[in-house]
C-alpha cells in the first residue's frame, strides 16, 4: 500500500503555519493540538509535572509571538521543538539555585538500589528518568528521547561536547538497572 498517513498531516501543518503567522488563532489552535503531547512530554520530563502545564503554555505563547520569524527553512515541528527546549533550559537556569538546593546528591542516586519490578514497565522507566541526576537527565532526554546530536546539545546547554557525551553515558548506565523489571 503506497498511501502515506504522514503526508496529509504535514500538509495541514504547513498551511496552518502560514495562516497562524497571519494572525489566524484557529489555525494556531490546530497547531497546538497537533504538537501539545510532544511539547508537554518534553517539559514534564525535563522539569517536573508541576511546572509542565505552565511552561507548555509559555512555549506556545512564545511560538505565537515568534511565528513571523519562522522562515520555513526547517520543518515547523523542528523549529517549535527547538524553541521549546530553549524555554525549558532558560527556566532551568532561572531556578537553578533553588533546584540545586532541593535536589538530592547525585552520588546518593548512583548508589540507589535497583527499583523493584512493576507491572507497568513504561511508567517505571519514566520514573527512573525522573530520578537521574539533573545533568545526566537533561542530556539523556535531549539525545536519546528527543534525538538531538551531542554538538547541538553542547550549544543548547553551553557545555563541551565531551561533557554531553559523559553525561549521556552516565545516564544510560543508570537506566540500565531499570531494564530488567
Amino acid at each position: 500500500m503506497a498511501l502515506s498517513a504522514d503526508t496529509p498531516i504535514q500538509t495541514g501543518i504547513e498551511t496552518d503555519v502560514a495562516l497562524a503567522a497571519r494572525g489566524d488563532a484557529s489555525a494556531f489552535e490546530r497547531l497546538y493540538r497537533t504538537h501539545v503531547a510532544r511539547i508537554h512530554s518534553l517539559t514534564r520530563r525535563m522539569l517536573s509535572s508541576d511546572e509542565a502545564d505552565e511552561v507548555t503554555q509559555d512555549i506556545f505563547v512564545r511560538t505565537w509571538q515568534k511565528l513571523s520569524q519562522f522562515r520555513g527553512d526547517s520543518a515547523f515541528t523542528t523549529w517549535l521543538h527547538r524553541l521549546a527546549v530553549n524555554v525549558v533550559i532558560e527556566r532551568r537556569r532561572t531556578f537553578a539555585i533553588q533546584r540545586e538546593r532541593m535536589a538530592p546528591d547525585p552520588a546518593v542516586l548512583d548508589s540507589l538500589p535497583v527499583a523493584p519490578p512493576r507491572a507497568d514497565l513504561t511508567v517505571d522507566f519514566e520514573h527512573a528518568i525522573g530520578q537521574l541526576p539533573p545533568g545526566a537527565r537533561e542530556v539523556f532526554l535531549l539525545h536519546d528521547v528527543e534525538g538531538y546530536k551531542h554538538r547541538e546539545i553542547a550549544v543548547m546547554l553551553g557545555v563541551a561536547t565531551g561533557t554531553s557525551k559523559r553525561q549521556l553515558h552516565r545516564a544510560r548506565m543508570l537506566m540500565r538497572k531499570h531494564l530488567n523489571g
Binding site: 500500500m1 503506497a2 498511501l3 502515506s4 503526508t7 496529509p8 500538509t11 495541514g12 504547513e14 498551511t15 502560514a18 495562516l19 497571519r22 494572525g23 489566524d24 488563532a25 484557529s26 489555525a27 494556531f28 489552535e29 497546538y32 493540538r33 501539545v36 503531547a37 510532544r38 508537554h40 512530554s41 509542565a52 502545564d53 507548555t56 503554555q57 506556545f60 505563547v61 505565537w64 509571538q65 520555513g72 513504561t122 522507566f125 519514566e126 539523556f140 536519546d144 528521547v145 534525538g147 551531542h150 557525551k165 549521556l168 553515558h169 544510560r172 548506565m173 537506566m175 540500565r176 531494564l179
Partner: protein, 235 residues
Amino acid sequence: MHEEWTDKLSDYLDDELSPRERQAVESHLRGCAECAAVLDDLTRVVERAQRLDRRPPRADLWDGIAARIETRGAAPRRVSFTLPQLAAAAVVLIAASAGIAWQFADRAASRSADIARSTEAQSRASSGYEAPAEREPSAERSNIDIAHVSFADAQYDAAVSDFEKALQNGRRRLDKTTIAIVEHNLQIIDQAIEQARQALETDPANDYLSGHLVDARRRKLDLLRRAAALTIESD
C-alpha cells in the same frame, strides 16, 4: 566490569569513535561477554527511550494560551469579505457539505449548524460587517462515520473549481512562499486522492480507503477555501 572499555560503549553505540578506537572496542567485545552484555543493555536503554510515548496534558491548556495571545496586543487580524464573496462562500460550503456523502452522527444537528452558519454569514454580509476570518466546518467533521463516497460528485467538483478560480484571481495578492506552500500541498493531496481512488477500484469495500479518500478530499476543499480566504485578506 572493565570500566575502561564500558566507558567507551555509549560512544561506540552512537558511532562517535575514531575507526581505530572502534576496532579496538570491537576486538575487546569479541572476547569479553561481560562488556558485550553491557553493550546489549545500553542498546536496549536507547531503544526504550526512543519508544517513550508522548502524553498530552491532563487538562486542556488551550484556553489559557488563547487568553494570552489575544490580550497581549497580538489579537488575530480579521478579514473583511465583500457581500458577494461572503454569499458565495456560504453557498459553496453548503454545497460541499451536502455533496459529499458524509453520514453525520447527528445529521439533523449538523445541517442546522450549516444553515445557521450561512444565515449568520449572510446577515453579516448584508450589514456590511466584518466577518471572522475563520469559519471552520472541518473540526466538526473529524469524528464522522463514513458511509460511502461518490466519485462523480458534481457539487464537490463545482466547489473545488469555484475556489480554484477565486485563488487564481487573487493569486497576485499572495506572497511567493504562500503560493508555493499551497501548490505543493495541493499536489500532495491530489496524489493522495488519486492513490486512494485507484486502490478503491480494486478494493471497493475497504473502509480505511474510503475514509482516506474522504479525508483527502475534505483537506483539498479546506486548503482551497483557506487559500482563497488569504487572497481577500485586507491589511
